[in-house]
């Protein structure tokens, strides 16, 4: 007889064991999909891990893919923690890239610190502004934020395409004949390239450092500010928050702005660290905002766990890009990410409930449906 009871307290080791076991289980389950497609799972996994972490330069590449995931992961973790379902990290990241590259073009003759600082602010503000739209709708008109943030992702993608392909916008390079024939964004000045830090075993991009700082800051905000307290109360019980007199509308708008700013910073880092140009197709192919949700869920919305998970998922994605080809079809990475998430969700049951296998006969008074 299996009994499932809600846990009063959760043992600490379970919080670590469950995600790790979920990962292992996900790799085992995905092996079945590989076998059906006639691929050797062990060899495939070995190649994935090699390309993600161990091959020369692999870790540097992994940090490149992990940087935007770290920031969109934090964006999702922050909002999801208070059960505000901001699925719009994708669009907020696009707008962040638009903001950062706009500032980058405007300040191109300034010195590097001003230029880079301006790009960071541009990304933060543009991402926050895009996220505040569904935030205000949610707070004041009670419009379901899941759908609105999602719909705005598609609109943001079209904004990107419009700026580069179908207008004479500020972002588009119109200086040469070829550039007018084959639309592309203005390439930023060299001074607008964000710095990176060589740690011998890997090169760390500036955006990743910003992400780590943001993770620590977010953790501190939760731990020791009034806003963080209000967010936690709202996340645990809307009714309790109302009794406590928390102005939930303001907190919702502020949280959407914060979440959007983090995702926008991810977009700024894509421009400043890696692309140095507003590149609609490249940004849209990556699906960085959606992958951020996977990162946040696996980290159980804990800001300090987000960087670790981002490196892991970023490693998967990095291996996916470099291995993609006939014997490593696109889509495998999404399958792996989804499967990991399924097992992590299933594993939550173990965290929240105690499962006991008791003998059938002596039914204690407390058990069973009253």
């Amino acid at each position: 007889m299996i009994r499932i009871q809600r846990r009063q307290t959760t043992p600490r080791w379970l919080l670590f064991a469950v995600p790790v076991l979920s990962l292992v289980a996900a790799f085992i389950a995905s092996a079945a999909i590989l076998l059906i497609a006639d691929k050797d799972p062990l060899a495939t996994y070995q190649r994935i891990f090699d390309r993600a972490f161990f091959a020369p330069g692999a870790l540097t590449g992994t940090l490149v893919t992990a940087t935007p995931l770290l920031l969109t992961g934090l964006a999702a973790a922050a909002a999801f923690r208070m059960r505000l379902w901001n699925i719009g990290g994708e669009g907020q990241l696009y707008l962040g890239a638009v903001g950062a590259s706009g500032v980058g073009i405007a300040l191109q003759h300034q010195s590097a610190p001003i230029l880079i600082g301006g790009m960071v602010v541009g990304g933060l503000v543009a991402g926050a502004a895009w996220a505040v739209i569904p935030g205000l709708l949610r707070a004041y008109l009670n419009t379901n934020e899941i759908i609105t943030t999602l719909m705005l992702n598609y609109v943001a993608g079209l904004v990107l395409l419009y700026l580069i392909f179908d207008s004479q916008s500020y972002w588009r390079d119109l200086s040469t004949f070829t550039a007018r024939q084959f639309p592309q964004g203005k390439v930023l000045a060299d001074a607008a390239s964000w710095p990176s830090f060589d740690l011998q075993f890997a090169i760390v991009p500036f955006g990743f450092v910003l992400g780590i700082l943001a993770a620590i800051a977010l953790w501190l905000v939760y731990r020791s500010t009034v806003f963080g307290f209000q967010v936690r109360v709202l996340g645990d019980s809307r009714a309790a928050a109302r009794y406590a007199g928390i102005k939930s509308r303001r907190v919702i708008v502020a949280m959407m702005a914060l979440s959007g700013a983090l995702a926008g910073l991810g977009g700024a880092s894509e421009v400043g660290d890696f692309r140095h140009v507003l590149d609609p197709r490249g940004l849209q192919q990556a699906g960085l905002g959606y992958a951020g949700i996977v990162v946040a869920a696996l980290a159980r919305y804990n800001p300090l766990a987000v960087p670790v998970v981002a490196i892991l998922i970023g490693g998967l994605a990095n291996a996916g890009y470099s291995l993609q080809g006939p014997d490593f079809p696109a889509g495998l990475v999404g399958v792996l990410q989804g499967t990991i998430l399924f097992f992590a969700l299933g594993g939550e049951l173990l965290v929240r409930y105690r499962i006991t296998f008791a003998s059938r006969s002596p039914a204690p008074a407390a058990a069973a449906g009253t």
Binding site: R6, A37, M151, V294, V335, T339, F342
Partner: protein
Amino acid sequence: MNNSIVVVLAASAIFYGTPLVFASVGELLAERSGVLNLGVEGMMLIGAVTAFWSVQHLSGPDWVVLLLATLIGGLAALSVSLIHAVLVVGLRANQIVSGLALTIFAGATGLSSYVGNVARLGGQPAKHEFIGLNVFGLQDLPVAGPILFHQNALVYASWALVIVVLAYLYRTRTGLHLRAVGESPETADVMGVNVARYRYAHTLAGGLLAGVGGAYFSLAITPNWIDGMTSGAGWIAIALVIFAFWRPELTLVGAYLFGLFSSLGFVLQARQVHLPPEVFASLPYVMTVVVLVVVSTGWAKQRLGAPAALGTPYVREER
């Protein structure tokens, strides 16, 4: 007369709205049982890719192949929806995160893309496709002909579906039990209704219908396969359920409205109206937001029709 812009728009609104009818009626069934499934986009893409694979690999008369392919698309989507059902009904996982996980797992850059790429489906023209029928020989009738009598078989199937679901929800005992499960699972449980079984069954039915909606994309709209070809239709279908106040007959209105927005771009472009393509392309998404805002405020403030237990797991021990 049948080439006038109003007739063309009306006919194509129905044509482009039909996949939304299937997907949102399916989502409506799941939500009526209390299960929110945000995996519609992923399930539709699975339906699209498996149905397209089927028409390329099955042989036989057109209608047999198309029927089988649509069924296969539906069943494939049903089987991925089983994952969501097990997680949220069996294991009480968070419905929102699980649904998102389903879309990531199955959607563009996920399983549907994997299947399409492994089977090399990209760039092939479909060997069989749904084409407009000539119902009762009335396709040349003025106005009504192209709108009502020259659609493909799935359009007529979607009308039948809405009627059947209406009758099921409001005229049968199981339909009554279903509504009870969604409104108050405790009461349903006391009545002797197996809450978990109803939730499983209707989540799977939602998956089946989402798959059929996806098949419509690869067999009727484009007749080919492209990664991520539903481009957000699954999410619009979820919004439509809210728009329709969880009533099947109203999903038709919403779906055709959105079909109209999707087709407006093509129709106006063909008539030399020049505006940036992004403006038309963004219409369905912007309108979804606008409609949601209208529905969730003012006269509809009471969350008209939302199943009370939507999104919450039912745990008998914690009743």
